[in-house]
Amino acid sequence: MAKGVLVDLTKCIGCKGCQTACKQWNDLPATIPDFDNNLTYPADTDAYNYTTVLHRVVEKEDGQETLRFAKRQCMHCQEPTCVTVCFSRALVKSPEGAIVYDEEKCVGCRYCIIACPFQVPKYEWNDALKPVVSKCQFCFDPRGKHDRIGHGMEPACVNACPSRALKFGDRDELLKEARQRISSDSKYVNHIYGEKEAGGTNWLYISDVPFEKLGFRTDVSQTPLPYYVHDYLKWTPTVFLGGGALFAALHFYTKRRNEVARAVEKEEVAE
């Protein structure tokens, strides 16, 4: 059963409790980010921040500005592009649906970074010798140290949220709840972000402000990108086996033909 989190942006007060809880739980070091006019620090997730709370001034329907906050982190895609493209299985999907990174296996090619449709994974550029790819692990750690989900706990960020903006549970249930919340209150926009994006993600968002105004990509392909890749890769055996056979046949055929031709030539010369 896929686990997920429902993020209700109408409830978020931008307290950054989730962000600091994540940092503490995962023993991530702190940096001093550049000034940001929105007071989003850091302005985007980075090597040492699996999650950051975006602050945005948005205009309401009546033309008045207001503030909205959106915690961003890995969406934990149901069809994760990052997992598909990782050629050393450093990124894997757990049975609970968490997309987990294992630095021991990582080559540092950064294909996952360019491939993620949500631009989530970040690279530890400044580390010379053991740079890691960094992203929310959904508090899942097969090696145990930072594991919460495996111990039946909810993620650290969810646990820290004072305003119940984050809810952890089974994705199916959360999806139902999201639909129910949207239909029972007209303030919500009728869009569950993550229901269909990238083929569906385990983190789901609902909001009273259109998602694009908050800097969410709304043009994410609904077809999971891995499909395109699978679609191509499924030809691999055909190409190799078929091509191999064909080429072998051609090789011996043309070789034979040439030999015959040469023999004929010789004969002709001899004649």
Binding site: K11, I13, G14, C15, K16, G17, Q19, T20, K23, Q24, P29, A30, T31, I32, P33, F35, N37, N38, L39, Y41, P42, N49, V57, Q64, E65, T66, L67, R68, F69, P162, S163, R164
Partner: protein
């Protein structure tokens, strides 16, 4: 807090956070709960989500709280009185007030002396002596027939409080309020409609405030305006109602209860005055009111003296009353103290968990004052700006003669004891980790310090060693280094002399020396809950009977009452105003309900209805209050620095403001062209106060590293300032540099037809810690409220300039 005490009898939040769930309409004014009280914000949002409660936020800035508001009102800093009186005017004009409540539970019907008057912005009794303004309050008294006050229950008498109020607030019509505050009339009308609607019997309106209200030269009157509005609408004592002053530090309520203020002894007993109170009898006679619960004051004081001096306190020696420190009429508030320090009158300072070098008004001046000290002791977790004032930027340590000591203290998670939250809940906390290095708990430090001082007095004598030597001080815990918290708790709670058991009620305290009690309002918090087997403050039962009072979770002073003045939740006959939120009901000859009665529950409802505000001598909520220095009603004055003249009277500023001398008290002129913008200071969720703790914590520094100033997009355009540019902020007191946040968080307002720019400054930065930045308080003026001396941090004038060259 003074405004609340003057109105209701106690200076505390009337309801509690969990009770917010019962609210219909919130009016959050001068509080940014989402950032400063996130856990309170949770309950506000809970009420909105579960019950469709409405949220009105009144703030000069678009705050994180305002982001959730149904109505967000952007007003000019310092104009809360017109804003609130205007709502009262609207409620009175449209008869939306709670008539029955007004007549029964407030002093609306009291008749004021005919000599009382109000003219040109001043109340009757104004006096100017040697440039010192005071009111003679004789004309602010009620008419009585020798024994009882004259009343008119019809509220028609022209000099009854209600009619006087009606007349007073009639000048605050929507248009006028709009012009003063800068709030568009349409928006303001909507606020009036929405909030005044809670005057209905079955509706609960909740006003939440904090520093945006109190940090003004008329802060107490701001609070009064809130209290009066709530009395008018019948919102006090009800679930979901109340005046909820969200207090600051996690235990500031506790420290105020325990006499952190210079004019109070524990439990809000006034400090005796050296000339006025020559002995115990004198004090008791002069300070004990004839009626109201405070008539028990002698019991509380004598029990306190027994706690202080133990066996040494006897009836014969006035229970050592003479040993109590006395005040002499001089100003010992924060600013008065620093003024004296600057003038060389104060020689030594113990800054114990305080960082005035960043948090005090005109902080640069306060740092100057510190240079004049002979010695300074700082008891803190970090080497704060105060501890390091001698190596602040531009200071030559060689020139500072002060001898400085820094004692490392343990943080709250590194020790155990109770914390009293804003909702008066006293909750026990256990130690999570050991303090690092040589850090010790504050109790340890206090204990050792006292014992050492006593030793020195004992061995070397001194001018007046008795108060120290006679002190009953024994909190040792054999085999432990730390003092015994249980012994301290028992003493605070109160006990019968000779017994070792905590009393369960201050009703059992005596004035004959047979009981000792360190702080009467906490009595019962250490008594053991028979069912749960732990002291009341250690209870953790989440059982609830439905209204969110959680009576078995911790202990709420007084006597575990969760909602103060809760007699007002039902009508005269004990019928709840709203059946769905029945806190109490008189049924079959007794009270049934969800709270501990804050009234005499043994008598019939009609009798307790006579004095629902038990702490006040007359027992009625005060729409008209004659015990504040600056007026029985609030009146609009401009902040000491203002871009405009007072639109309502010739009286530009409150005549009772506390003003000081020196550069920190320099003020810009009215409409000063050099300082055209209105500045206010505020907090951010990421940092705490002077930032001592948070700017030393890497992961909190990371989430908000830079000192900034919020300016409007218009102002930025005008001044060619781009986001992130470094700018100067200049006031009559000094200037600082910060990075510009260009954002519609602030916007220019239209005041009296004139455009007024508002500028927001967080005040958490200083020159110590991991993230350093300019201190906003280098800009704030040393002027304060006449009643409380709280500085005017929230409205002053400044100029903004781009820092030229890179």
């Amino acid at each position: 807090m003074a405004g609340l005490a003057a109105s209701f009898g106690r200076g505390a939040m009337t309801n509690h956070f969990n009770d917010y769930i019962n609210t219909d309409v919130f009016l959050v004014i001068g509080s940014n709960s989402a950032e400063t009280h996130p856990m309170a914000m949770k309950w506000i949002n809970e009420a909105r989500n579960k019950k469709g409660a409405k949220l009105i936020v009144v703030d000069p800035r678009l705050t994180k709280t305002a982001a959730h508001a149904d109505i967000f009102v952007r007003h000019r800093p310092g104009t809360d009185i017109p804003f609130l009186l205007g709502i009262m005017n609207y409620a009175i004009e449209n008869e939306l007030y709670h008539h029955e409540y007004l007549v029964k539970y407030t002093n609306a019907s009291y008749i004021v002396k005919p000599e009382f008057g109000f003219k040109d912005g001043l109340f009757s009794g104004a006096k100017l002596d040697n440039g010192v303004f005071t009111y003679d309050k004789n004309t602010w008294q009620f008419e009585d027939d020798g024994k009882t006050i004259k009343k008119d229950p019809t509220l028609q008498h022209p000099n009854c409080v209600f009619q006087l109020l009606k007349k007073h607030v009639s000048r605050y019509d929507i248009k006028t309020v709009s012009e003063i505050t800068g709030v568009p009339e349409k928006v303001y009308r909507k606020v009036c409609e929405t909030f005044a609607a809670t005057g209905a019997r079955d509706k609960s309106g909740n006003i939440i405030y904090a520093m945006g209200i109190t940090q003004h030269t008329y802060g107490t009157q701001n609070v009064r305006a809130i209290a009066m509005l709530q009395l008018l609408l019948g919102n006090i004592g009800k679930p979901g109602g109340g005046v909820n002053a969200q207090r600051g530090e996690s235990n500031v309520q506790g420290s105020t209860d325990l006499a952190m203020l210079s004019h109070l002894l524990p439990g809000y007993l006034g400090v005796p005055n050296a000339t006025k109170h020559t002995n115990l009898q004198d004090y008791i006679e002069k300070e004990t009111p004839a009626s109201g619960y405070w008539k028990n004051k002698p019991k509380f004081l004598v029990s306190l003296l027994k706690a202080f001096y133990g066996d040494n306190a006897t009836k014969e020696n006035d229970f050592c009353f003479d040993y109590l420190p006395k005040v002499d009429g001089r100003d010992h508030s924060h600013m008065g103290f620093f003024q004296d320090m600057y003038d060389g009158k104060v020689k030594g300072l113990i800054a114990w968990g305080q960082n005035p070098a960043v948090g005090g008004p005109g902080a640069a001046f306060e740092r100057e004052a510190m240079k004049k000290l002979d010695w300074m002791v700082v008891v803190d977790l970090f080497e704060t700006e105060t501890a390091a004032f001698w190596h602040a930027p531009n200071v030559d340590p060689g020139e500072v003669q002060t001898e400085c000591f820094l004692l490392p203290a343990a943080f709250s998670f590194e020790k155990e004891g109770t914390v009293t939250n804003s909702g008066r809940w006293i909750q026990y906390r256990y130690k999570a980790v050991n303090p690092p290095g040589e850090a010790k708990s504050d109790t340890w430090i206090a204990d050792r310090l006292f014992k050492e001082i006593r030793r020195l007095y004992r061995e070397q004598g001194g001018a007046f060693p008795e108060p120290i030597l006679a002190m009953d001080w024994n909190y040792d815990k054999p085999g432990h280094e730390e003092p015994d918290i249980a012994k301290i708790a028992l003493e605070i709670n109160g006990y019968r002399v000779g017994e070792n058991r905590a009393l369960d009620s201050f009703g059992k305290l005596k004035d004959d020396g047979s009981t000792a009690c360190g702080m009467w309002i906490y009595t019962g918090y250490w008594a053991v809950d028979q069912e749960l087997g732990v002291p009341n403050c250690q209870r953790r039962s989440t059982e609830d009977s439905g209204l969110g009072t959680y009576l078995k979770w911790a202990f709420s002073w007084p006597l575990n009452r969760r909602i103060l003045y809760n007699r007002c939740s039902a009508d005269e006959h004990g019928k709840p105003w709203d059946e769905s939120r029945a806190l109490f009901r008189w049924q079959d000859g007794r009270w049934v309900g969800h709270d501990v009665p804050d009234f005499n529950a043994k008598v019939v409802p009609e009798v307790s209805a006579e004095t629902p505000f038990i702490m006040l001598p007359k027992g009625h909520g005060r729409l008209f209050a004659n015990n504040l220095v600056d007026g029985p009603f609030p009146e609009h004055y401009e902040p000491m620095e203002s871009p405009v003249t007072n639109r309502l009277s010739k009286q530009q500023n409150t005549p009772c403001a506390a003003v000081f001398k020196g550069q920190w008290a320099d003020l810009a002129k009215v409409g000063d062209a050099k300082y055209p913008y209105v500045a206010t200071t505020h907090r951010v969720v990421e940092h705490y106060q002077s930032g001592a703790v948070t700017r030393n914590n890497p992961s909190l520094v990371e989430v908000c590293p830079w000192m900034y100033v919020s300016i409007s997009e218009e102002l930025a355009r005008e001044k060619g300032i781009r986001p992130g540019d470094e700018v100067w902020i200049e006031t009559a007191r000094g200037r600082i540099k910060a990075l510009a946040q260009v954002s519609p968080v602030v916007k220019p307002l239209k005041v009296n037809g004139k455009k007024v720019e508002v500028v927001g400054l967080p005040w958490h930065w200083g020159y110590q810690g991991i993230a350093m930045g300019a201190t906003a308080n280098d800009l704030t003026p040393a002027v304060g409220d006449g009643n409380t001396k709280i500085p005017e941090y929230k409205a002053f004038l400044c100029n903004i300039r781009k820092v030229q060259g890179v």
